[in-house]
């Protein structure tokens, strides 16, 4: 003992660091990564939270590469996706969903503007045939080319793109965007043979020397329905009509056009009819607004352009200049039932938008493929019953959207790659626990509205095929990306580091995040409770 201590003091001052309060603990905070709802919802398999995080500091190229890992069409998808990511976005419960789709479009456009490309692996010498140059086929072609396989795409139409080119009107998806994203895939070494329909797949597979094939011919036929019709009436199907408009050969519809159906194709047909000269475009639909399969945004935009809708109506007769409609009512099961009340509506043409059919005659000689209700049967990897043949897009039973088709293409390509000996298994499954709204500490997020994409005046839209929804600017894209709440994943906000009463959170530096100091953490759980993103979990100490 030293003798120069003050009076009555027998010990030197020590630090409390000697007191390891971590021994009090019964539970320990653990940094976790949870699966954000946007990633769960995306049919293409994107993880928007991941690329929004990368876009937040302006690193759009890294964000683009993350998207490109699963989706080679960011600029297309940024325009036409119905963004289930936004529908499920946790931020919608706070103020408004993050405009994920508009940021993706911005990133996709930025990539085209700057000419970013994806690297291609060394050639494997394997040859894969893709039938159909729509979104599913081109996605599979892209993924397989990226992995080093030789890919030939055979397309029956004179233009690549499938429904991107022939189904979606140009005011929603400009042709040059589709062409540019397809050209980027072609530049990776994918051969696209246009005007090359495959009529007998069995013969093609036998004689072509292919190691594998992916079938994605789409649903090209508009469904017809049996409506009593007089002479000289114009009835056409929406798919054929949109196809003709895409070919710059718009059909003569007259001034008053009736569109029969309630899906997105009906919206496209009605809006397109307005653009090619119809003064009245009326949609006839047998159910009610809330039961309509069309996306509400599509309906809103159609109505804003002057398209009218006759709800709870079916067409029972078509004459030269008018249609007869029967009023319907919904029964207890929500099914429309006839009422026996009729009314007439003047009409110069009727466009049927009541669904699409597939033409699978090319499979006639392939006996081991299951074809039911015009759909090709596939397993979870999109393999058909025929060895070496996969199928995806609108010919398999799933949602029939561009985004789903892209998901099919990527998943099938992964399986084909494994089949060709390139890898051993399926893509890794995202088995993270979901980051639901309740796991967030939303107090920390400041309130801000979504950037609303400036819209052309409805009147002007009707005149032209200009793109309806304009894109974000550099500033607004950054703003929108930064509205992401980073659900379930640390974004280094320093909350845990600041709220620990025991100074037991260690800040590791930019990009390195944090660590818990087990010597002093008492396990109070404040860091987990206050983590804005819900990225900390308390776990019992003895587990």
């Amino acid at each position: 003992m030293t003798t120069d201590l003050p009076f009555a003091i027998t010990l030197d001052v020590g630090t409390s660091l000697a007191n390891k309060t971590g021994t009090w603990r019964t539970q320990l905070p653990v940094y976790v990564s949870r699966r954000p709802p946007c990633a769960t919802a995306c049919p293409a398999g994107e993880d928007p939270q991941k690329w929004l995080y990368q876009a937040e500091d302006g690193d759009y190229e890294t964000a683009w590469r993350t998207i490109m890992a699963v989706n080679p069409f960011p600029a297309v998808i940024g325009r036409v996706c119905f963004h289930p990511c936004q529908t499920s976005c946790n931020r919608a419960q706070l103020d408004e969903a993050v405009g994920i789709n508009s940021v993706e479009r911005f990133i996709g456009d930025e990539a085209l503007r700057r000419g970013w490309t994806m690297p291609v692996a060394v050639s494997t010498g394997r040859r894969v045939l893709v039938i159909g140059a729509g979104p599913a086929g081109m996605t599979a072609a892209y993924q397989l080319a990226r992995l080093g396989h030789t890919v030939v795409v055979k397309e029956s139409a004179p233009h690549a793109g499938g429904m991107l080119t022939y189904g979606i009107p140009r005011y929603r998806l400009p042709r040059d965007i589709v062409d540019a994203e397809i050209a980027r895939i072609a530049a990776m070494g994918v051969t696209i043979e246009l005007d090359s329909p495959v009529e007998d797949l069995a013969a093609e597979l036998r004689e072509g020397g292919w190691d594998a094939a992916f079938l994605a011919v789409g649903a090209q036929l508009g469904k017809r329905t049996d409506i009593p019709a007089g002479d000289s009436v114009r009835i056409l199907d929406a798919i054929a009509m949109l196809h003709s408009v895409a070919d710059d050969l718009p059909p003569l519809l007259g001034r008053r056009v009736v569109v029969y159906g309630g899906g997105d194709t009906a919206m496209d047909a009605a809006r397109t009819a307005r653009r090619i000269g119809a003064t009245d475009a009326t949609i006839v639909y047998r159910r009610t607004r809330d039961r309509m399969p069309a996306h509400p945004v599509e309906l809103d935009e159609a109505e804003a352009e002057g398209v009218t809708v006759r709800w709870l109506s079916t067409i029972s007769q078509v004459d030269a200049d008018r249609i007869v409609m029967e009023r319907m009512r919904l029964d207890d099961a929500g099914k429309p039932q006839p009422t026996g009340e009729y009314e007439t509506l003047t009409a110069d043409a009727v466009v049927l938008a009541i669904g699409q059919d597939t033409d699978l005659t090319l499979l006639d000689a392939v006996s081991d493929v299951n074809k039911t209700d015009g759909m090709v049967g596939v397993d979870q990897d999109f393999a058909t019953g025929h060895r070496g043949l996969w199928a995806g897009g609108d010919i398999v039973a799933d949602q029939h959207t561009v985004t789903a088709a892209i998901g099919h293409g990527t998943r099938a390509a992964t399986a084909i790659h494994a089949y060709l000996g390139g890898s051993t298994g399926r893509p890794s499954v995202d088995d993270r626990a979901p980051a639901d709204f309740g796991s967030l500490s939303t107090w920390y997020y400041s309130d801000a509205p979504a950037s609303v994409r400036p819209q052309l005046e409805a009147a002007r839209r009707v005149e032209t095929f200009d793109e309806v929804v304009a894109g974000l600017t550099t500033e607004t894209a950054l703003y929108e990306a930064r509205r992401c709440m980073s659900c379930g994943n640390c974004f280094e906000c320093d909350s845990c580091y600041s709220v620990c009463p025991d100074n037991a959170v260690i800040k590791l530096g930019p990009g390195l995040k944090y660590a818990i100091d087990p010597d002093y953490c008492k396990g109070c759980g404040l860091c987990a409770a206050e983590c804005p993103a819900g990225a900390i979990e308390m776990r019992p100490e003895n587990s």
């Binding site: 409390s16 309060t21 906000c493």
Partner: protein
């Protein structure tokens, strides 16, 4: 005090920092080189609001003074859990004398420094609510009245927690403590409304009085910084939930403080020279019942049956604060 909120990032400045925020805009607590004036190994309970607030206040003051400061501590939890002989958790010059005399000791330290010509060294005194509103009240009033160059910080957890949750003059009505138990007709603390010390401090017309909580780090840091930019007697009153005394979950400390402010029961404001100059508006209005229900010390107001008359009286207190301090913007209130 109106804190500039960065509205650009996911969390803006409602969180301590952000990887994208330039260091100048981040809080002191986000700084990897913060002083950690109260460091690890102290013996405060899990989730202690007082330990948290003390580090926030003193780290901010350390930055504001360039590390040139002395802290005087009254007796209380903060003193006991930080300095069991011979250990100390303090990484600042720190002095403890008695329970009731911290304001007088701090005034003496300030006078001594002044006599030595050390105008660069600043003095902070800190105490719990007992040491402030009860035992230290006389000394504190004297310190205010003389205008000593001291920032006095009260960490208010609304009772004597260190000695076993005895009632103080800052204990709110109807709260259960060990000296105001729930028994028979008695529903917890049966005395008055508690001393409103920020108002008492303002009555001394000192240059700076402010309230804050552990629910708003940015606001608290801004107030400490403002206080340290002024000379004379200053007072900061920080609400610090106590999991032990309030019977709350340790992880709820910040949440409960937030409910106190968002219900209107604890007004957060700033006053200069005796007049309120700034008020932190309620951002997401919370129900007083939610604040009370989160705390075991008010459990008797809900079980066996809700004591509606008491709940209404507490709601009336919140309403009075809201109208007295203007805690709610009429415009924002009208918005959905």
């Amino acid at each position: 005090m109106t804190v500039e909120r960065t509205r650009f990032y996911q969390v803006g400045s409602w969180a301590a920092g952000n990887r994208l925020l330039d260091p100048e805009s981040a809080s002191v607590q986000a700084d990897p080189h913060r002083a950690n004036a109260l460091t690890c190994g102290h013996r405060a309970c899990q989730g202690c609001g007082e330990a948290l607030a003390a580090r926030w206040v003193l780290d901010t003051a350390m930055r504001a003074t360039g590390g040139q400061m002395v802290v005087v501590n009254a007796t209380g939890c903060l003193e006991v859990f930080s300095t069991p002989y011979p250990e100390s958790s303090w990484q600042v010059p720190w002095l403890h004398s008695l329970f009731g005399n911290a304001p007088a000791v701090a005034a003496g330290v300030a006078a001594a420094l002044s006599a030595q010509g050390r105008t660069d060294v600043r003095v902070i005194a800190q105490a719990g609510d007992g040491g402030t509103v009860d035992i230290g009240m006389g000394c504190l009033s004297g310190m205010f009245e003389r205008g000593d160059d001291v920032l006095f910080v009260c960490y208010d957890n609304e009772a004597y927690m260190n000695t076993g949750v005895q009632r103080s003059a800052a204990t709110p009505p109807w709260a259960r403590t060990t000296t105001t138990p729930v028994a028979g007709e008695a529903l917890g603390n049966r005395y008055g409304q508690g001393k409103d010390l920020p108002r008492i401090a303002m009555a001394h017309r000192i240059p700076y009085v402010a309230t804050a909580t552990v629910a708003d780090l940015r606001d608290l840091e801004a107030k400490v910084t403002a206080a340290m930019s002024i000379h004379g007697a200053r007072y900061l009153h920080v609400l610090v939930p106590c999991p032990l005394g309030w019977a709350t979950t340790a992880s709820d400390t910040i949440h409960v403080a937030r409910l106190a402010t968002q219900s209107g029961l604890f007004p957060v404001f700033e006053a200069r020279d005796g007049a309120v100059t700034d008020v932190t508006k309620i951002r997401h209005r919370a129900a007083t019942a939610d604040y009370l229900r989160a705390q075991g010390r008010y459990a008797h107001l809900f079980t066996p049956e809700p004591r509606t008359e008491v709940l209404d009286a507490i709601e009336a207190v919140a309403q009075r604060n809201i109208s007295e301090y203007g805690l709610v913007d009429d415009v924002e209130e009208a918005a959905p």
